[in-house]
């Protein structure tokens, strides 16, 4: 399918909406810049003031764009009475949706060193929810592991088998581990598609922390069937299962403000939306034919694997003529938040580099939709805004320092015969700051107003109006405190990305608190910077010092804030009194979350059992499973595994590094030989000792 061959029914309305949006943003930015020119003593005529203005323009435009997006979302939600945009897929096809037959669809869950118990709990809740719809036969589930540590992948495999047994999913729930995890997640998914994709018309991508209701999954397949032009449909995942105060705050944010922003975004993007990497359905054939990502051939960070692949894939499938929709009306799509600010920042490090890589797609990739080039720019500036803000603060400090030093130049323009008197207009500074604050906070206030005034059903999920207001005020206080900390971290990430500092690909921490030492080390540079900056500001001008307090105070308190917000006890305490209460916590979001919470934490191996590798070789059930899943080795591979087996037989499992020892699990004969040897070995043999230790650890008490 080619873009040029198709008629785009949404083009005119999309253009109209985008032009109106752009006009509002530009108009507001123009007013903002005019205000800034009035505030600056030389009205932007000196080099440092020019630099201030250059940094101010994109910052103000970015804030204005976010604000107008939410206002647009508010308008759409009120205009269509919370039923979603009339042009959305759900609005167009909802009448015939229940009668649309389903087709074979794969649910792909790529994982890499994740919390195994959590991953399979989420998957189980989703599968049970699909089962409850009566359409389980249309789906197959694939856990696609890239884990390298045998302690992780052996547990994954045991969890997979346990789930297969418990829900009788043999032949329907699959597990695949790549031995060579080339090109990270992109490579993982494309490897799956190359080998098994042809069997499925669609595939739904889950993240390690995704949970989707059966109704949501079934609706996605039916919408794809209704709209053959759709290449991807992205749902809006809401956060759930938060425990730490930080994660609960993020959860509150997505549930309170999320609907407004996502509605506005969807209304502007229409059929040229973006893919967020998970909780979305994809037309397999179109994806395989058009979304293959080559390694980048540029220099520095623009070389190698595309890290933020999802945006690029959406733009490629759109280039091929397929539509990409962000469907806000589909409920029952969930994911989790990082438990702490530091974990969020670790994730942002990867995303910032990935988004900066998109520079090459904006400029050099032919045929992409303008909307997708804009989406790339938005993604880039989401991180680039931080160093720009940093520079803005730096230039402002220099400006104040110049005046404090008495370095007043009455002829900043060398070609002018008339003096340029510096003028101070504090009233304009107050107006400008007020307008910026309104721009920042109006969308949040509108979201709050909309919830209280028009959405009584959703309001129940936020406990009570007083608690909602309390949570709203606290969230805004913390968002002000966290903004400078994020700014500084993102600035460092952008600089590191530009210098192509390697980003480690690792599983995310989704469940731990942050310790004091870790927080102090991470935030020490920011704290030192804050002390220096405050000192300089105070020495220059007391008034300027007061202006800097919100930023320097945040940076000074970064470590305590991070530690405090990462505490589960604080999250639990505030949850008990209803602060940052959200629909999932009141079991009002979706039945799938109620089921998720009810799934018990079944142990896959006894707590006192040894590590997974030893347990797999010694446990009769696990050893036979490992043997059943191992390959029948031949040739050089067989000789290598036999040699490894001989070494392990003679010296025991601890004589060889674990990842190397785990290679013995690739050979069925070697597994059985080791297993039989261990149980028949005399007590003074290394394996005999290990069996006796296992016996004592588990039984003899």
């Amino acid at each position: 399918m080619n873009k040029g061959q198709t008629y785009d029914a949404f083009r005119s309305v999309a253009l109209l909406r985008r032009w109106i949006f752009t006009a509002f943003v530009l108009l507001q930015t123009a007013f903002g810049v005019w205000g800034m020119i009035l505030v600056l003593p030389y009205h932007g005529s000196t080099p440092i003031e020019k630099a201030i203005l250059i940094t101010f323009v994109p910052l103000y435009a970015f804030v204005a764009a976010g604000s107008w997006m939410a206002l647009f979302g508010f308008y759409i939600r009120r205009r269509f009475k919370n039923k979603g945009d009339a042009r959305s897929l759900l609005a167009r096809f909802s009448a015939k949706l229940p009668t649309v037959p389903l087709v074979k669809t794969a649910v792909a869950l790529p994982i890499y060193h994740e919390d195994v118990e959590r991953v399979f709990r989420g998957l189980r809740a989703s599968i049970e929810s699909i089962q409850a719809t009566g359409h389980l036969d249309s789906f197959e589930f694939f856990v696609l592991s890239d884990s390298r540590d045998p302690e992780v992948w052996l547990e994954e495999r045991a969890a997979w088998l346990a789930l297969c047994n418990e829900l009788n999913l043999h032949g329907r729930l699959h597990y695949r581990r790549r031995r060579v995890n080339l090109r990270a997640k992109t490579g993982n998914v494309s490897d799956f598609l190359r080998r098994w994709g042809r069997k499925f018309k669609y595939f739904i991508v889950f993240d390690a922390d995704s949970v989707m209701s059966g109704d949501a999954v079934v609706s996605l397949v039916r919408l794809m069937e209704c709209e053959p032009k759709a290449g991807m449909i992205q749902t809006v995942p809401r956060l759930f299962n938060a425990r730490s105060a930080f994660a609960r705050m993020q959860q509150f944010v997505t549930h309170l403000y999320g609907p407004l922003f996502s509605e506005g975004l969807a209304a502007l993007q229409l059929n040229e939306a973006v893919f967020w990497g998970h909780n979305a359905i994809i037309r397999t054939e179109a994806f395989m034919a058009h979304c293959g990502l080559k390694s980048m051939r540029g220099f520095g960070l623009w070389r190698g694997t595309v890290l933020s692949h999802d945006f690029v894939e959406a733009s490629f499938i759109r280039r091929a003529g397929y539509e990409v929709w962000l469907e806000t009306g589909i409920e029952g799509s969930f994911e989790e938040s990082p438990p702490s600010l530091d974990d969020e920042l670790i994730r942002d490090k990867r995303w910032s580099k990935g988004n900066l890589q998109h520079v090459s797609f904006i400029g050099f990739e032919k045929g992409l939709a303008t909307a997708h080039r804009m989406a790339f720019m938005n993604g880039i500036f989401a991180y680039l805004a931080s160093p720009v803000w940093f520079l803005f603060l730096l230039f402002s400090t220099i400006e104040v320092a110049q005046f404090a030093a008495g370095d007043i130049n009455y002829f900043p323009d060398a070609h002018s015969l008339y003096p340029n008197w510096p003028q101070w207009h504090p009233q304009w500074a107050i107006v400008l700051v007020t307008s910026t604050l309104v721009t920042l906070f109006l969308p949040k206030l509108l979201a709050l107003f909309e919830l209280i005034a028009f959405d009584r059903k959703r309001l129940q999920g936020f406990c009570s109006v007083p608690r909602l207001l309390q949570g709203f005020l606290l969230e805004n206080l913390f968002s002000i405190l966290l903004a400078p900390i994020r700014m500084l971290a993102h600035s460092a990430y952008v600089v590191q990305a530009i210098f192509n500092v390697t980003v480690r690909w690792a599983g995310q921490n989704r469940s731990s608190e942050i310790g004091w030492l870790q927080a102090m080390i991470r935030h020490a540079p920011g704290m030192i910077l804050a002390v220096l900056w405050s000192g300089i500001a105070l020495s220059l001008n007391a008034n300027f010092f007061y202006w800097t307090i919100p930023i320097s105070l945040s940076l000074l308190l970064a470590a305590p804030i991070t530690v405090w917000l990462s505490r589960f006890s604080l999250g639990d305490r505030w949850r008990a009194i209803g602060i940052w209460c959200t629909p999932p916590e009141r079991a009002l979001a979706d039945q799938v979350l109620v089921n998720f919470a009810a799934i018990s934490d079944a142990r896959l191996k006894p707590e006192k059992a040894p590590d997974w590798l030893s347990w797999t070789l010694l446990n009769p059930v696990q050893a036979r499973i490992a043997a059943a899943l191992a390959a029948n080795r031949r040739g050089a591979a067989k000789r290598a595994s036999t040699a490894l087996c001989e070494l392990l037989l003679a010296k025991g499992i601890s004589a060889v590094p674990k990842r190397q020892a785990a290679r013995v699990l690739d050979d069925k004969d070697a597994i059985l030989r080791l297993h039989q040897h261990a149980w028949m070995a005399p007590p003074d043999d290394p394996w005999g000792r290990q069996v006796d230790q296992l016996t004592r650890a588990i039984c003899v008490k």
């Binding site: 053959p228 059943a628 588990i698 008490k701």
Partner: protein
Amino acid sequence: MSINSARPTEFATHAHEANEQTVSTLCQYPEVICAQLRWLQRRVFYQFLQTGCPTIDLEADLAIERNQADLTQRLALPVLPLTTMPPLLRGSVRHAKAGFVVSSSTSDTPAS
């Protein structure tokens, strides 16, 4: 809880609750008896891991050969077939264009 009714995980949980100080790995009987007890323990524990339900025949003799023979039999149990993934369908882009194997009520190609 009797050992006969304990599942491995239950057994482990129960085991932890016991006092660590009471653990004794030393055999206080004559070496001949200890050797026999060790093999009995190993056979019973293997059976427990394998089935979750070990049996100790109190009338049986404690001959090492007897327990070793029982263990050998258990170790020789066949490996049942198990697959993690469905049969491979090589589906490169070229293959994908050649035709998908899915059936559908609507056209696979977007309307032009």
